[in-house]
Each structure stands twice: as C-alpha cells, then as structure tokens.
C-alpha cells in the first residue's frame, strides 16, 4: 500500500561498481576498507599481533621466559651497573638489548611479551570460534524450529545470562583445577549464550523478510532457505560481534591469569606478566606498564577491526 518515493538519489551508483558481479562486490568492500582508517589501523594491529604470536618461537629464544640464573639484573653495558648491583633493581627500559627493560630476574621484558602473546590469542580464538559455532547452530535451530525448542533454548540462555560473568569462571576454575582447558571452558561457558541470542534474533528478523517468503512460494524447501539464504544473510552482525569479542576474551582471560589462576608460575601469558610485575611496581613500573600496553594494543586492534567491519557492512552506507 505504502509507496515511499525516494526523492534524493543518495543511492550510490559509484564508479567503483560499474563492473558488476561478485568480484566487484569484494573489490568494493576492500575499497571501503582501505578508505576507513579504523579498519586500516585495526587490521595492522590485529594481523601484526597474530603474526608476532605465530612467529614468536622464531623471533625470540623460547627460553627467555625461564628464570635466568644467575639473575642478570645487572644490565649489559649499563654505565650504572654498580648502582644497579647495589640496589638489586630491575633493568629499566631503553638499555641496549633490553628495549623494554628487564625484570628482577634479568629476563628480557620484550621477549617475554612476545612469548606471552600466542597463548592469549590462541585461547581467545578458540573460545570465540567455539562460541560462534555453538551460537549459530543453536540460534539457527531455535529461530527456525520455533515453538518448544525455541523456548527451551531461550530459557537456557536466560539462566546463563543470569550468571555473573567472571564468577562462574572463578567457580569452575576453583573446582576443576587450574589448567588451560578448564580456563578456556570456563570463559566459553559464560560467552556462548550471547551468540545464541544474537544469531536467533538476526535469523528471526531475516526470516520475516519477503524474500524468504518468495523462496517458499517458489517451492524451495525449509533447509534450502535456511542454509543458502537466511544464514548467509544474517551472519554478518555475528561475525562483527566475534571480531569485537576476540579483544574482550583476551581481557577476560588475562584477568583470570592476573588473579592468580595461571596453571603454573611459569605460564607465559601477559596478564600473568602484569601480576608478576606488581611486587616491583614502585621501583620498576615498566614491568606493569608494558605487558598491559601489549594487551591494550591487541584488544584495540580487534575492536577497531570489528568497529570498522561494522561500518563497512552497514547497509545504510552501502546501499
């Protein structure tokens, strides 16, 4: 009935889109990404951190995390070597070979940060990917089946939403012991319901769109509509959420490690590194500052990327 006459031709028939088709669509997205400073800086940070984490064993000596005996708290070539020896003070940043300084045991802080990165990223990715998979599967089933199944899934997520985030993880770790699998599961348990809700609402909205009905009228089966049309069309916000959550999971996981749930005193992890540095916070603040800064940069990278992707996929901007 309603006829909305779009008067202003905002519709972008851009020069970049003259050659149409799927390839130009991707090209167009890349063009938008290049134009968007958020995505650019975000992807530099995110991809950079993934690369460093992947190559950490090659870039630095994996043994640099171990205690250096005898403690080399004196810095090489340090003019104030005697002063340091007298005060047993961790090596400050800026000393040759120790760009970020060293801790009280003489360990190179930069090396430790590089070695601490992989575990955070690995665990974060595995948590987000599992939560994503569970969420999309359950959300799709709930939204598409409807009725009792939907109700059941919703109520289960209700229960998990009522749990205070970190606390369920604390309880689980406390009860089941401190190993990385348990830690991962503990965070996953509080993380997956969000994806179920998000996917469900997306699919419900998508299901109501006329094209789904058009497909039904055409004779397409339920599964065909769901898998070939509705899920691909509703997945983008979930992907954005996943990108944003990689940073969030890193923060949560490192908080757990910071709070003392690390499996061993030698677990190479950034939150653990911060908590190790606390005893020296008044003499050697860099031991707290730099590992934390590393976390900030990694989390920021993924958050920027997620924000940017959201902007790019924003239909108002796009169509």
């Amino acid at each position: 009935m309603t006829q909305r006459v779009e008067e202003v031709p905002f519709e972008p028939r851009s020069v970049y889109r003259r050659r149409s088709g799927r390839i130009s669509e991707i090209k167009y997205s890349l063009y938008l990404a290049r134009k968007n400073p958020l995505v650019l800086s975000g992807s530099v940070l995110a991809i950079g951190s993934i690369l460093i984490a992947a190559l950490s064993g090659i870039i630095v000596d994996p043994r640099s995390w171990a205690f250096q005996y005898p403690p080399r708290y004196y810095c090489w070539n340090n003019p104030w070597i005697n002063w340091h020896l007298q005060n047993i003070k961790p090596c400050p940043p800026g000393t040759p070979f120790y760009p970020l300084g060293a801790d009280a045991f003489g360990r190179n802080l930069l090396n430790m940060i590089i070695l601490g990165l992989p575990i955070d990223l690995q665990i974060s990715f595995s948590i987000v990917i599992s939560a994503f998979a569970i969420g999309v599967a359950l959300g799709a089933v709930a939204a598409y089946a409807g009725g009792l199944i939907d109700e059941a899934v919703l109520r289960i997520t209700d229960v998990f939403f009522a749990f205070p985030g970190l606390v369920l993880a604390l309880v689980l770790v406390a009860v089941f012991g401190r190993n990385l699998t348990i830690l991962t599961l503990a965070v996953l348990v509080v993380w997956w319901p969000l994806y179920v809700r998000l996917t469900r609402s997306q699919i419900l909205a998508e299901k109501e769109k006329p094209y789904a009905e058009a497909l039904k009228a055409m004779g397409a089966g339920r599964l065909r509509i769901l898998f070939l049309h509705i899920i691909p069309n509703s997945i983008y916000p979930v992907i954005v959420q996943a990108t944003l959550d990689i940073g969030g999971v890193i923060l949560t996981f490192s908080s757990l490690m910071f709070l003392g749930f690390a499996p061993s005193p030698l677990t190479p992890e950034l939150g653990k590194l911060v908590s190790d540095g606390i005893s020296f916070v008044s003499q050697a603040p860099w031991l707290v500052i730099f590992p934390g800064l590393a976390i900030v940069l990694v989390a920021l990278g993924f958050n920027l990327l997620g924000d940017g992707i959201r902007d790019i996929l924003d239909p108002r901007l796009r169509r």
Binding site: F163, F176, S255, V288
Partner: protein
C-alpha cells in the same frame, strides 16, 4: 496484557531461572569436588573421626548407614547422600536463611557466610553506584556530542576514548592510575592516600598502606560514604570519598565504552529519523530538537545497557576490588574461590544472579513508562 500481568509472568519465570542457577551452582560445587569440602567449615582438627562423620550426617551430606569416616572420604558406595537429596536439604536450609559458615582465612574461619556477605555488600554497592554514575555522567554527553558532531573532532575524541576504555584490561588501568597518583604524584589529602580505604572501615583485609582514621563513625549502612554523611563526620567523608575515586574511575572507564557506543549509535539513529525533520521544519530550536525529540527516543537502548552495567557492577568487580583492596563481595568471592569456600560461592552466585534478573525486569518495566508504544 496489562503491566502487572507481565510482571507476574516475569517473576514466575525469574524463580525458575534462579532455581536453575542454584542447581547448576550446587552441582558444580558439591557434586564434583571431594565431599569433605562442604564440611570444611564445620570440622576442626581436634575432632575425632566418628565426630566428623556425625557432623557430616547432621549436615545431610553423609548417610547414617555409613560405616566410617574413611569410607566417607573415599566416597564408598552408599555412604554419600545422593546429590538431589543433598540439594533439597540444602535448599531448605538456604531458604530458611542458613548459608553455612566461611573458611576463608583472611575473612575469618567459622563466621557466618550470610553475615560476611551482608557486611561486605554495602562496599560493593557504593562502588557500583559511584562507577555507574560516573559512567552515565560521561557517556551520555560524550555519546550525544559524538552523534551531533558526527565525523568531527568531538566524535573522534569520544570514539577513541570509548574504544580505548573498551580495550583496556581493568587490572592494568588500576595499576596505571595507582602508579600515576600514588607513586609519582604521591597525592595525599588529609594524610590519606588515593584509592585506599581508611583502615577503620576495612573488614580484616590485607591493608598495609591504609592509614588509620580516628573519628566517631557509626555503622548505619555499612557503606563508608553514607555512614560518614549520617554521622556528620566531614573528615571521614573526605577520606572515604578519596578512597572511592580511583576504583570508581577505573570501573567507570571500562564500562564507559559500551554506554557511549550505544548512546552514540541510538542518537544517530534517532537524528536520522523523519520526525526530526518534522521537528526542524516546525522551526524548533536545535537544542529542543536534539534534547527533546531525539534524546527521548535514543534513551531506551541506553537504559538497558545502564541497567546491565549497574547489575554486573553490583555483583562485585572482582578485579578492581582485589587491586584496590576494596573490601567488597567481589574480593571475597575471589578469596572464596581460591580457598574453595563453597558456601560463600553459592550465596554470592545466587545473589548476583538475583540482582541481574531483577535489574532486567526493572529495565523492562521502565521501558513501558518511557515509551508509550510498549504495552505488555
């Protein structure tokens, strides 16, 4: 459906959610670890084994037919009461207000868990409310300015602040603030250090840096600032306020991002709406257009987030409380999980779950008052 009908339905649903939470917590805490954990607060080293077994039977954990304490600790068949029976007897106790005793050394072994929780909760509440207030006070203007100056300097600024707040680990920010204020600036007022509580109000926590505060403080509510106001003690008020500032700012900064983002996007959405064009076409002032027409519509999603933020904060900010030695429930929960004080963990989880569910309901009811379109 009428509003009260809706609320009743939600309350019924809420009871089920809380029961489910209690089942999960109970199974995790009592079904998995050694059966002796649940007994820890009630047995002393001097007890003989039969006495211990008797205590276990009395608490409804062991079957009366269990031959010996050794059999019990080894979970011999027929010795441990089935979990569901345990659950119902536990539920009965809990509903009558008996949450058991504590085993946390830093808090006091053998104290009543409920009493402990009640003593600590006001601290958490004070911190949570302060942090939520700071969040709203900063996020609202930042989000609005960001939306009205889209893609200009104020927008970039507040987006960056929000993003950085989003990406910063709370424990790290807490230390950075402490390094700046306590170590480098050595800011002290009234002889008190920023971010640390006056010792007279701490509940047996490790508080080496706390400076004793003389003064007549009556504990009316248990929350330092409120007590200071109620006992008309300005010096103590300042001390308590100083102690609150850093932890509250830390918490607020971490929640600021989420709220700013929501306010910004919903405000932008509202400003894009047709009714804004009509309001402008009526010749209204830009101020009226933004603050009366757009903001009222944009407020709805912001309220949801604020409610959620407040609810999670009331559940205790474990990390911040730990770093600032803030004697709230979050810190106690951390200690409880380190010492496996299952009584406290159960109480804590259930209360926080209750707070979250109630907050959600509150937000939904508030919606109905703000948005005339919503009818339940």
């Amino acid at each position: 459906m009428k509003l009260y009908e809706y609320v009743i339905r939600r309350l019924v649903l809420m009871v089920f959610v809380l029961l489910a939470v209690s089942v999960i917590v109970f199974v995790i805490t009592r079904g998995v670890p050694s059966p002796t954990y649940a007994l820890a607060p009630y047995i002393t080293p001097r007890m003989t084994d039969p006495q211990k077994l008797q205590t276990a039977v009395g608490l409804g954990i062991a079957e009366p037919s269990c031959p010996s304490w050794v059999d019990f600790t080894q979970s011999a068949p027929g010795c441990i009461t089935p979990l569901y029976v345990q659950y119902f007897s536990w539920l009965k106790q809990v509903l009558s207000g008996n949450w058991g005793n504590s085993v946390i050394p830093s808090i006091g072994v053998g104290q009543s868990t409920w009493g402990l929780f009640v003593a600590r909760f006001p601290y958490t509440a004070e911190l949570a409310v302060a942090a939520a207030l700071i969040t709203v006070l900063f996020a609202l203007p930042m989000g609005i300015v960001s939306a009205t100056h889209n893609n200009k300097v104020p927008d970039h600024f507040s987006r960056i602040v929000a993003l950085v707040g989003y990406s910063m680990p709370v424990f790290w920010l807490a230390f950075i603030l402490q390094i700046i204020f306590v170590i480098y600036l050595t800011l002290t007022i009234h002889g008190n250090t920023f971010g640390l509580l006056p010792s007279s109000q701490t509940v047996g926590t490790d508080c080496a840096l706390c400076i004793p505060n003389p003064g007549n403080i009556n504990t009316y509510t248990g929350a330092p600032i409120l007590d200071a106001i109620l006992s008309l003690n300005p010096a103590y008020f300042w001390d308590a306020l100083l102690a609150l500032i850093l932890p509250a700012i830390t918490l607020a900064f971490s929640t600021l991002g989420a709220l700013t983002r929501i306010v910004r996007s919903s405000m932008m959405e509202a400003l894009r709406q047709d009714y804004i064009l009509l309001a402008r076409s009526k010749g209204l002032r830009e101020r009226t257009v933004i603050y009366r027409h757009a903001l009222k519509n944009a407020l709805l999603p912001a309220i949801t987030i604020t409610g959620l933020i407040l609810a999670t904060l009331l559940g205790g900010a474990v990390v911040v409380e730990e770093v600032f030695s803030w004697p709230g429930v979050g810190q106690a929960a951390l200690d409880a999980s380190l010492f496996l004080d299952i009584n406290f963990l159960e109480l804590y989880t259930l209360v926080t779950a209750l707070i979250i569910v109630v907050a959600n309901l509150g937000v939904d009811v508030l919606y109905a008052f703000i948005d005339p379109r919503i009818r339940y």
